[in-house]
Amino acid sequence: MSKKNILRFILFSLLIFIIASTIKCNRPATGPVHIDISIPPFKLLSEYHFFKGKPADLIPNDRVLPYDLITPLFSDYASKLRFVWMPEGTSAVYNDTAVFALPVGAVLIKNFYYPNDYRDLSKGRKIMETRLLVHKQAGWEGFPYIWNDEQTEATLEVAGGRKDISWIDAQGETQQLNYVIPNKNQCKGCHDFDSKLTPIGPKARNLNKEFAYNAQPENQLLRWASAGYLKNCPSPANAPKVACWNDPKTGTLNERARAYLDVNCAHCHNPHGPGATSGLFLDYRTSDPTAIGICKAPVAAGRGAGNFTYDIVPGDPSVSILAFRMESPDPGIMMPELGRKMMHKEGVKLICDWIASFEGKCK
């Protein structure tokens, strides 16, 4: 080759190399999970290598453990795929009441998606966002990642965002929603225990169920233990188990309603949460009827109280503020205050049935 041609060849190769290294492509994850809690979060979800293969398939990488909850939080009918990862050699210690204290370096991964058609899951899905809770040295931090329309990548957006989505629900009706991805500060709007950002989901009573890890389902507490993620775990039979809110076989009306309130409300409405100022405590341990809201007047609900006097009027959900706020789509009235825009029809029915089952009268 002539000198000129060699030069041209080198320049050309250099050009191709530069172009190739800046093109984003569907590179499958190489190597294990990659996270450094001492640096700011990655801009792209794929950089963590939580998943292998096509990003939107959400196939967990090694030691990324999927999990599910018996009674989940309602998020505008979105479905969720949850995962936990902890650094090698670290683990949580079991307790039977509070959320597990996961070690420094642990990550909770929660993917929110909508099947295109809830009646036929083979018709594919749209992933909206992935929320990370990362246990850094100084405490937990939340990072919202928003998926692109092409479903090839999710990008960190600390300010959150909005995305229009539509899907066909289980009844065959088309639903449309301007879905809101919360911003980083709003993580702590719910994930707040004594003003410290704290996970909510992984509690013994809500994890104590079977999960189909492969073809063979296995109890999650046992699996967390055998994966080295949970120490001192008793046998599942000796661990608490919350009722499944919409399965009458798993608990009484009261147990199922309390399970629903515990998961959907009690992260704020407990003595250590952001809703503590109300004096309304909906965690599963509170038994005082007034603290649960029976014949309790609101404190500072403002127009959230509607024209009603008490949080719960025994026997009459139609005048109970609890039910009123769960039904409302108005941002100044609705409860929960964050994380939903739609009314949870089935959840509201459960709580209304529960309120209707109470006897007695308020003055």
Binding site: V158, A159, Q186, A276, V299, L338
Partner: protein, 405 residues
């Protein structure tokens, strides 16, 4: 291209025009930018808004970053509008120590204007909150809403059209509210379940109730005490009550000047209190509201209340009979209810042997100009009602008051 100076001039002109007409940021871009700045702020930062009208559709939140100042160019010049808000209840939701809001207006939030929770060192200075479509039950509840905070200063703010209270301080400690204007709210200024608050040199006018000092049951921080209300102008608070019915504040009759409910150790002095339909000033026990409560730690009685050296005046006016307290006053007094109304309910626990009440626990009414007083004796169904002020001629030790940090 040949050297053509005219062409070059034309090209540069086009470029200049195009760059000046670069598209302005739209509302969602501004929302995102401001929220990012609030998330990425460093302690001590100031987040400045220029003059202008800013539209927000979602709540803005600040969490955990200390000593942030959020500042505009003046309440008349920097307007943050949350009209059509679709997400989040408040305009601002803040949990951060050392927060200062200054020189801006927040308006038309779906819920409360600015809520600050669990924070030490909270300052609002020359901040206005309002709802631009008038006083409606569908307006947000509170304009400024510090709750479970410590060291709170609200000064030179103007708050109006809130459907609960314009300036509401709840379950907090060491509070100063001064030189503010509260008008066209249900409650102008409300101190609820707080410890040590000074409310002075404010104007409360055309609200349903001017200044309320309330202690409520069934909430975590109970039994508020030590409030001084002084040097205020409290007048013409006769606005019809437009609170949604479920609220305690919805029970306040229109034409309430100052109402002390279930509080201990309150001094109301050197105020000008005038022209209220129902009562210029009142001291009441929670039981008088007729509401039920189940809270064994709660004390429903007001005691240690001193109302002295105020300037009262009033024209004959019918009390607000749409509310039970007003109805009772109208039945008893027609157009001329007394200026200072005590329901007569004294805490049995402060009545010593032989009926003596320690000085700091007494109701003291002294040196008020133009004021008629009544002890309704509600506990005897008004049978022992008396207008005799002599029993209440006492002074208590002045309260120490809040300390500005």
């Amino acid at each position: 291209m040949k050297n053509n100076p005219i062409l070059i001039v034309i090209i540069f002109t086009i470029l200049a025009v195009v760059s000046c007409n670069a598209p302005k940021k739209n509302a969602s871009q501004i929302q995102k930018e401001i929220q990012e700045r609030l998330i990425n702020a460093k302690p001590g930062d100031t987040i400045s808004f220029d003059e202008g009208f800013y539209e927000f559709k979602s709540s803005l939140s600040l969490d955990g970053i200390e000593n942030i100042t959020i500042k505009g160019k003046g309440a008349g010049k920097t307007i943050l509008s949350f009209k059509g808000q679709t997400e989040g209840a408040e305009g601002f939701m803040v949990k951060a120590n050392g927060i200062t809001f200054e020189d801006l207006t927040v308006q038309d939030t779906k819920g409360d204007g600015i809520k600050v929770q669990n924070s030490k060192g909270v300052t609002f200075r020359r901040v206005n909150v309002r709802w631009t479509e008038g006083a409606k039950a569908s307006n947000g509840g509170y304009g400024l809403y510090p709750v479970t905070c410590k060291n709170v200063l609200v000064e030179e703010c103007e708050i109006s059209e809130a459907s609960d209270a314009g300036i509401y301080i709840g379950q907090s400690e060491n509070i100063v509210v001064r030189k503010c204007k509260a008008h066209d709210n249900v409650a102008g200024i409300e101190i609820e379940n707080c410890k040590t608050a000074d409310v002075y040199e404010n104007l409360a006018t055309n609200n349903t109730g001017g200044i309320l000092v309330f202690d409520m049951p069934e909430i975590p921080v109970k039994n508020g005490q030590d409030v001084r209300v002084y040097n205020n102008e409290i007048k013409d608070n006769n606005h019809p009550n437009f609170a949604p019915e479920g609220n305690m504040v919805g029970r306040v009759p229109a034409g309430t000047g100052v109402l002390v409910l279930a509080y201990n150790f309150v001094e109301v002095f050197n105020n000008r209190i005038s022209n209220h339909r129902s009562f210029n000033a009142s001291i009441a026990c929670f039981l008088t509201t007729g509401k039920e409560y189940k809270d064994s730690l709660y004390n429903p009685y007001s005691y240690g209340i001193s109302i002295h050296d105020n300037d009262f005046s009033r024209q004959p006016m019918l009390p607000d009979t749409t509310r039970i307290l007003g109805k009772i006053l109208a039945q008893l007094f027609g157009l001329n209810p007394p200026d200072i109304v005590w329901d007569g309910m004294l805490d049995p626990a402060v009545i010593g042997k032989d009926g003596v009440v320690a000085p700091e626990n007494r109701i003291c009414i002294k040196n008020n100009k133009n004021a008629k007083f009544v002890n309704l004796s509600a506990q005897t169904a008004f049978k022992d009602m008396t207008f005799d002020e002599k029993l209440f001629d006492c002074e208590r030790k002045p309260l120490p008051g809040a300390k500005l940090q």
